[in-house]
């Protein structure tokens, strides 16, 4: 069974530029999560989807971050414009349903110069 796929793996951009991350969850997993992980910290939830509905986006900085999960499968997380403090690893995870085990992708390491 294929795991969670994320791309790109690495991204370097200059501040004020836009950036987008893509995630393909495990087949059949209805719940999808985006996490932010800073160096030396555990992941912090940005947004959770149940199918195509964003059911918890309370931690998503909506002034510059946006996300979508069209058709309830793939998801895209966008930052516009990026700031220096956005440099981090962005992790995508999926689970079969809410409360079941979350499986993580390899992450996208973003560096903002």
């Amino acid at each position: 069974e294929a795991g969670v796929v994320q791309s790109p793996r690495y991204k370097i951009i200059e501040k004020k530029q836009p950036v987008a991350f893509w995630c393909n969850p495990i087949s059949g997993h209805n719940t999808l999560y985006w996490y932010l992980q800073n160096l030396g910290q555990g992941p912090e939830l940005l947004i959770r989807y149940e199918n195509e509905e964003a059911v918890d986006d309370s931690q998503l900085p909506k002034d510059r971050f946006s996300a979508e999960r069209l058709k309830g499968v793939d998801s895209t997380l966008k930052i516009q414009p990026a700031e220096l403090g956005d440099s981090a690893v962005y992790l995508c995870a999926s689970s079969r349903v809410q409360f079941s085990t979350q499986y993580f992708g390899p992450g996208t390491r973003l560096t903002v110069l």
């Binding site: 969670v4 994320q6 719940t31 999560y33 030396g40 910290q41 555990g42 992941p43 912090e44 939830l45 959770r48 918890d56 309370s58 992790l91 995870a93 809410q98 409360f99 085990t101 979350q102 499986y103 993580f104 992708g105 390899p106 992450g107 390491r109």
Partner: protein, 114 residues
């Protein structure tokens, strides 16, 4: 304040030695997950504990959840270089945030000297 505290923050052990990592919460845990992360990679699921007093093992790794469901330990027997990495506990804390969302500790960095 950090809702999940992990200790120690880092650990260096000689190959073959046993070690224990702890994860403590001030609130009751609905479910406790252990993950392993290597630098530059995602989290790999190890084990999930839900019942008070529960214990699970996989190869040389054993995880326990105490009766009060507020502390978990991860024990590695006869450590090997392949065990090196960052161990993270994640939990769904009853009464803390939206249920179904995991809160993570800061992780324990394990190094194993050959």
């Amino acid at each position: 304040s950090q809702e999940l505290e992990q200790s120690p923050q880092s650990l260096i052990v000689q190959e073959g030695k046993n070690l224990t990592i702890n994860c403590t919460s001030s609130k009751t845990l609905y479910g406790l997950y252990w993950y392993k992360q290597k630098y530059g990679e995602g989290l790999i699921f190890l084990m999930m504990l839900q019942k008070g007093g529960e214990e699970k093992s996989h190869e040389k790794i054993t995880a326990k959840l105490d009766e009060k469901k507020q502390q978990s330990s991860l024990h590695i027997t006869a450590s090997q270089p392949s065990h090196a990495g960052i161990y993270l506990c994640g939990a769904d804390i009853i009464g803390g945030g939206s249920q179904g969302n995991l809160i993570f500790g800061k992780g324990t960095k394990l190094s194993v000297k050959p």
